[in-house]
């Protein structure tokens, strides 16, 4: 449908845009004499909200999401609305506290494990957490490369081979993050986030006009007659059961919106003040609901138009509709939509991959090299070392992407699941003085093993995701804390910081 030249030119223009953003941000920093290195940021609320939402959108919006709604139906969308609503309350009880403590310590945290170390003072825990967060990063970054390369392959009818696209997009991502770091990634998210939310809804409306004369009622009526399973549990493919209706949203509420390392640092470290943190809680769920609804409508329209796609093909429902329906309606519109789809998918995907790449390099340089192997890098060489780490991680993800599993969805959900057991450690660390480092370590190990068993031994990954690991980690945390002791001095300082931070930021009136 599109020529390979069109895709290469599009990628070149997009690369120029990213380099422009990186150049603008680094120049601005030089002028303002602000320095935080490649891995730290303090941003105003519009950037905070958009970089957070863009990090969540990733390949979900244009690939995994429409395919998942096609297979899971409206019940799946409802289950998503149940977790999106939970973000403000989870953020209030956890991430806003994390933010305050980080601020009280001078805003020096780089990785999620930095916070855990502050509370438990355990180098072993920091190392284990670093490895788990790193393990979550690779499949996610790879999923982005897979999605974009598949899009290029599909959009050009195979003129751009999958592997070539993986390599080119992987290099673009790596070069951008090497140059610009985390602040550039956040700025790029803001600029392109709103644009691609608009594009998503443009695709929805265009497909509705082409397929059903612009009438959503007609599309719904068609689906109600032909595939009524879309409007009930367990959905057209029968996988939104009572169990997965609990397991999936729970995994997303905790894993996706809080615990994934790139989201953790955004929700917990990036806000420039507490007002920005609160704006994030107010606005992010609303924007997410708008975006996820658009994605659901694409799945709905796609299923109303064609109901026999294979599992893997459902994730290509947007280009499929463009190639099979829009092109006959208006070839120019089809070409425009295909370019838009490709750029949109590339942009939102790279937003997430860039975010992951920066935090993953922070994990390697801080949690592993500096704090585990005690390799001290001179301050003037820190940026160079971080760039080398980013390059190595980017190329590592690229290699995984060359031979991926069938569904992008599977890779994303495994990343989310593997970090879920770390949530109870965060909560108990904040609210329970008796929680010990021995319990935190045991809880991390038990939770991780349970997630691995869920996926690879019990074959329940598609239903319970990380929920069993979360439960196991919670029980272990309580049980081991009751049977072990840690020197009170280790946590005393942490709770004194909490009190000082509370007094500094809040005037409690109850």
């Amino acid at each position: 449908m599109l020529s390979s030249a069109t895709i290469w030119i599009t990628l070149a223009i997009y690369m120029c845009f990213l380099l422009g953003v990186a150049f603008y941000v680094t120049q601005k920093e030089k002028k303002q004499k602000v320095s935080g290195g490649l891995l730290k940021a303090s941003v105003a609320w519009p950037v905070l909200v958009m970089t957070y939402v863009a990090s969540l959108m990733s390949t979900w919006v244009f690939f995994a999401g429409p395919g998942a709604y096609y297979r899971g139906g409206m019940g799946y969308w409802l289950s998503e609305l149940s977790y999106i609503a939970l973000f403000p309350i989870i953020a209030h009880f956890t991430m806003n506290k994390v933010w305050m403590i980080n601020q009280q310590r001078g805003g020096n945290y780089v990785t999620p494990a930095d916070f855990y170390f502050e509370r438990f003072k355990s180098p072993a825990l920091r190392t284990i957490l670093g490895l788990i967060f790193l393990a979550a990063s690779f499949p996610y970054i790879s999923s982005v490369l897979v999605a974009i390369a598949q899009a290029a392959d599909f959009a050009t009818g195979g003129a751009i081979p999958y592997q070539t696209a993986v390599i080119v997009v992987g290099l673009i991502m790596t070069v951008f993050v090497c140059i610009g770091g985390v602040k550039s990634a956040a700025m790029a998210d803001t600029v392109q986030g709103l644009l691609f939310i608009g594009l998503l809804w443009f695709i929805v409306i265009a497909c509705l006009i082409v397929g059903f004369g612009g009438s959503l009622t007609t599309a719904v009526d068609t689906l109600w007659t032909n595939t009524p399973a879309f409007f009930s549990y367990p959905g057209p493919d029968g996988w939104v059961t009572n169990a997965s209706r609990l397991g999936y949203p729970l995994s997303c509420a905790i894993g996706w919106t809080i615990m994934l390392p790139h989201v953790f640092v955004r929700a917990g470290y990036f806000g420039d003040n507490l007002k920005s943190q609160r704006k994030l809680s107010y606005i992010a769920p609303l924007i997410q609901a708008v975006v996820w609804t658009g994605t659901m409508l694409i799945g709905l329209i796609g299923l109303a138009l064609v109901s026999n796609l294979t599992k893997g093909d459902t994730e290509m429902i947007i280009p499929f509709m463009i190639n099979n329906f829009v092109i006959a309606f208006n070839p120019t519109l089809a070409a425009f939509m295909m370019v838009g789809f490709f750029v949109g998918a590339t942009a939102v995907g790279l937003s997430t991959a860039n975010a992951f790449l920066t935090v993953a390099s922070g994990i390697v340089s801080s949690d592993l090299l500096k704090n585990t192997f005690h390799i001290n890098v001179p301050a003037e060489k820190e940026s160079l070392v971080n760039r080398i780490i980013i390059a190595v991680l980017g190329i590592g993800s690229l290699l995984i992407a060359i031979n991926p599993p069938e569904l992008i969805f599977t890779m994303i959900m495994f990343s989310i699941s593997i970090v879920m057991p770390l949530f109870p450690i965060l909560v108990f660390g904040l609210y329970w003085k008796k929680a010990t480092k021995q319990a935190a370590i045991a809880s991390t190990i038990v939770g991780t093993i349970l997630v691995l068993l869920t996926y690879f031994a019990w074959d329940l990954g598609g239903t319970w995701y990380g929920a069993i690991g979360l439960l196991g980690a919670t029980v272990t945390m309580v049980a081991v804390s009751l049977f072990t002791q840690q020197d009170e001095a280790d946590s005393k300082e942490f709770y004194e910081i909490c009190t000082r931070a509370n007094n500094r930021f809040y005037d409690v009136q109850e």
Binding site: M74, G75, L78, L81, S82, A85, L86, P88, I89, H92, F93, K97, Q103, Q104, R105, G106, G107, N108, E118, W224, P228, A229, F231, S232, Y233, P234, N242, R245, L246, N273, L274, K275, R278, S281, Y282, P285, L430, Y431, I497, C498, R500, A501, N502, R504, F505, Y506, D507, V508, Q509, E510
Partner: protein
Amino acid sequence: MRVTKTEKIWLIVVTVLYMLYNFPGLPAYNESVPMLIHAALTLIPLWAAVYIGMHKVYKVYRLRDTKDESKGDIKC
């Protein structure tokens, strides 16, 4: 960390509504209208409880003006 009464109420109400949405067996499988009614009766109150509760909790936790004060503790 201290938890106020308003926060506790917020947490309990939201948890109960989330559990109601996930009540096993409801709605029955392959029933379209009950699914929509169930969603209306659980998800709309869940969203309302989250936002109303957030508003009330933020009123309890008033923000101090921290512009002109020191930057917190010594760096770790």
